[in-house]
Amino acid sequence: MARSFEEALTSGKFLIATSLDTPKGMDLEDLARLIKELKDVVDALGVSDNPHAMMCMSPWAVCRLALEQGVEPIMHVACRDRNRLALQSDLLAAASIGIKNILCVSGDHVKFGDHIDAKPVHDIDSVHLLTVAKALAEGKDMAGNPLKGSPALFLGATANPEADPLEPQLIKVDKKIKAGASFLVTHPVFNIENLKRFMNHVKQSKVKVIAGIRLLVPEEASKYKDGSYPGLLVPDDLIEEIKGADTGKCMKLAGDLIKEIKSANLCDGIHITAPGHEEKIPDIMKAGGL
């Protein structure tokens, strides 16, 4: 895309982003093909950081691949796997190869991953990481030491409008915004009323909000129900609806939500995820009238 993610987001355009998981191993072929397919239809490409605590390639390498292919990446940085030294040095390294957009996240608990005996680091949390990244951008490390050359960073954070209860989530979102988040990428939303409630709260700030859209598929219905996907809070009636749905119906459900969000002018863009079905993202966009 010609314009940067930051420019696109601040231009008032309804922004479209998606995220990809990095490979478990060295085979980048499938990912390179996907990036090629998606680069002209999305404004930015999120790259996850050991998603669901599964050990995968570090996101900076795939972000670099995205940059080479001409799409601007949003690098996810999880506090779960690194202490404050490693987080800062990785942010500097990322910026040095042109990665500017950083999504600061806590990270799913290691219990969900494939290294369940790993120590969850959480030396600092996502609020701290935003503060630290902002300080780096202003030329100081976390200990207050001056940097020789500071990174250009555009910082974002996550939030979950479907969280129950929502109020503690909103208090934390306020802290993230205050700490330096310029944009929020929400966890997948399903109930438009919950998103409205969330937006009513954050609209007092200047933060840009990109709503999460998730393609639900029948073969994963039981996992939506049992909490296998942390932060994915699918209402029970929707899970029932998905159970018997064909591909067209699944796409329509995601597309209808996109239409509803866009027509109500609720937020600044959407972030579509379709784990294992990323090739369907352009079709989901079409179903959403984009």
Binding site: S106, D108, H109, K111, D125, S126, P165, I171, K172, K175
Partner: protein, 225 residues
């Protein structure tokens, strides 16, 4: 108090294998309260070991003794007034890890092995149930969090609010566990102190945690100089 749990029986058997005369040494404080290593538990373990070893015709002599505390030299010194430690090949301690270590220091010519896994600092919720409440982080935030410790109760130890996984007020990793930040929010709301949650807490200061930690009371400083 310190809460501990007995090691699996087969592991204990393995730890004592080869020894012919064993002293099982109980601790009468925390681990007695949590039914893991007091006088009764020492008696049960001794009986189980005698039966198990008897079944395979192993000629092992097992004695029992429980002292008030194994984490205090004053009480450890009492052991020698009751038994001759040199009579034993091995001491199987049912104290917490601190007790086992002090015992090893005092009787540094003896093999001392643990019968328990020390698990957490916690409270008794009711008969037979204990829950963790403190990570002894040396940087207490309870004043800001309504007396509920996020470092301990939150599965990720987050100090600035919940992650995105709160599900009906429960933790994303276990639907049986309360989300620490839902508890904190509700408590602070009840106390009229939600403003405490609105302030960002700084990162934990790990520099204040010494490993191993040591405290010398001001009044005793000269004694240890």
């Amino acid at each position: 108090m310190i809460v501990a749990k007995r090691k699996p029986f087969n592991e204990i058997k393995e730890l004592i294998s080869g020894s012919k005369k064993i002293l099982i040494l109980g601790c009468g404080t925390c681990v007695a309260v949590c039914l893991a290593g007091g006088e009764k538990e020492v008696a049960i373990l001794a009986s189980q070991l005698k039966m198990a070893l008897g079944l395979v015709n192993e000629d092992v002599e097992i004695d029992e003794l429980t002292i008030e505390r194994q984490c205090d030299r004053e009480f450890i010194e009492e052991i020698s007034t009751k038994v001759n430690v040199d009579d034993y090949d091995l001491i199987l301690s049912t104290a917490c890890g601190a007790g086992v270590q002090l015992l090893s220091d005092v009787f540094d010519h003896k093999v001392v092995v643990p019968a328990l896994n020390t698990t957490f600092i916690g409270v008794a919720e009711g008969p037979g149930m204990w829950t963790e409440r403190c990570r002894s982080c040396s940087d207490c935030v309870l004043a800001d969090t309504g007396g509920i410790c996020p470092v301990t109760i939150c599965a990720k130890g987050l100090v600035n609010g919940p992650c995105g996984g709160t599900r009906h007020g429960k933790c994303e990793i276990d639907p049986e566990k309360d989300c620490a930040w839902t508890l904190i929010y509700n408590r602070l709301k009840k106390l009229g102190r939600l403003n405490r949650m609105e302030q960002a807490l700084p990162p934990k200061r790990y520099s204040v945690q010494q490993y191993p930690a040591k405290i010398v009371h001001e009044a005793y400083r000269r004694r240890y100089e």
